[in-house]
Symmetry: C2
Subunit: 190 residues, 2 copies
């Protein structure tokens, strides 16, 4: 997706060979027009999959998931990272390790908002080691729902996430695939 | 805002005289079309205020703030509740006490994304005691920016938040004002 790659080239900051900071437009400050285009692009790529619901995890996944759900005309649900007082009732949960923050946390949704048989599209801002998406996929399985696809805004293709997710057997679409951050420079796949 | 009140009446669950659960459409599962209407309504109410940026706090504020920013054609930024590894550099922060979760936490944004003189609209999903909005207003002050307004999706008018925020001297707009949750029933102001 060319507009996204342009923003990454212009405003992305390479912090290390592993870490790309995109908090000027994607996951801290957000460019709403770019996010709308991201949602439209995911909708275009997954429109033939009969999606019933878009699933993500707080906080950075909310914006792209919301715009995708709006474009598809379906509800969005975001998993919470810790149980809040108002997230009561039966939960579906998974343990997720964050390599970035070096902590393991539980992510959970209310069971009542994901029904058996529903076709779910997982959307997230980054794919690195794939832990968040695997946790969300585990929640989809617990619900008896069906994983219809995974949409990733920025994939770090030099990290092992995609190989992990391919075992799930669904379509995976990334809007920008980064080949390398070596030398402080962003190189895209292709 | 009538569509919002209808959703609250249909899908809101009164957990106690203090707590209204709206996680079927607003802050866990999200109805993207309603959220788009919420954004359009905030944009309509604040369009004459010369807004440069919409500010909120993760996670529940992100969806309404994003849709408002899209409708106004300006960037959105969300404060993070704890410092992540990629939120580096100079921070603007405030301590916020959550009466719901009964914990105090720090919320912060990168100083580089809020400039002196910018006119800021704060958007959040709920107004109860006003602590989150007061923390965001403190961040606006630290940046030397100007608080142009506060937009709240659901105001619990029987709690002291509005009185706290009125001291800030800006326009406050709530899309649904709840007078009481007594008897397990939602009563709106008016």
């Amino acid at each position: 997706m060319e507009q996204l790659k342009q923003q990454i080239r212009q405003h992305g900051i390479v912090l290390s060979e592993q870490v790309l900071k995109v908090d000027a437009f994607l996951n801290h400050q957000i460019d709403p027009l770019l996010m709308q285009q991201i949602g439209a692009e995911f909708a275009r790529r997954f429109r033939d999959q009969g999606i019933d619901k878009v699933l993500t995890v707080e906080a950075s996944g909310i914006a792209p998931a919301l715009m995708t759900a709006l474009a598809l005309g379906v509800p969005m649900i975001f998993a919470r990272k810790q149980q809040s007082l108002t997230l009561s009732g039966k939960l579906l949960s998974a343990r997720v390790y964050s390599f970035t923050k070096q902590v393991e946390s539980t992510i959970a949704i209310s069971a009542q908002h994901l029904a058996a048989g529903e076709r779910v599209l997982i959307v997230d801002d980054f794919l690195a080691h794939g832990q968040a998406a695997l946790g969300l996929a585990a929640i989809v399985r617990q619900a008896g729902a069906s994983l219809a696809g995974i949409g990733i805004v920025i994939e770090k293709a030099f990290q092992p996430g995609r190989a992990q997710l391919e075992k799930l057997g669904c379509r995976i679409e990334s809007l920008a695939r980064i080949d390398s951050l070596a030398g402080g420079r962003v190189s895209f796949v292709d």
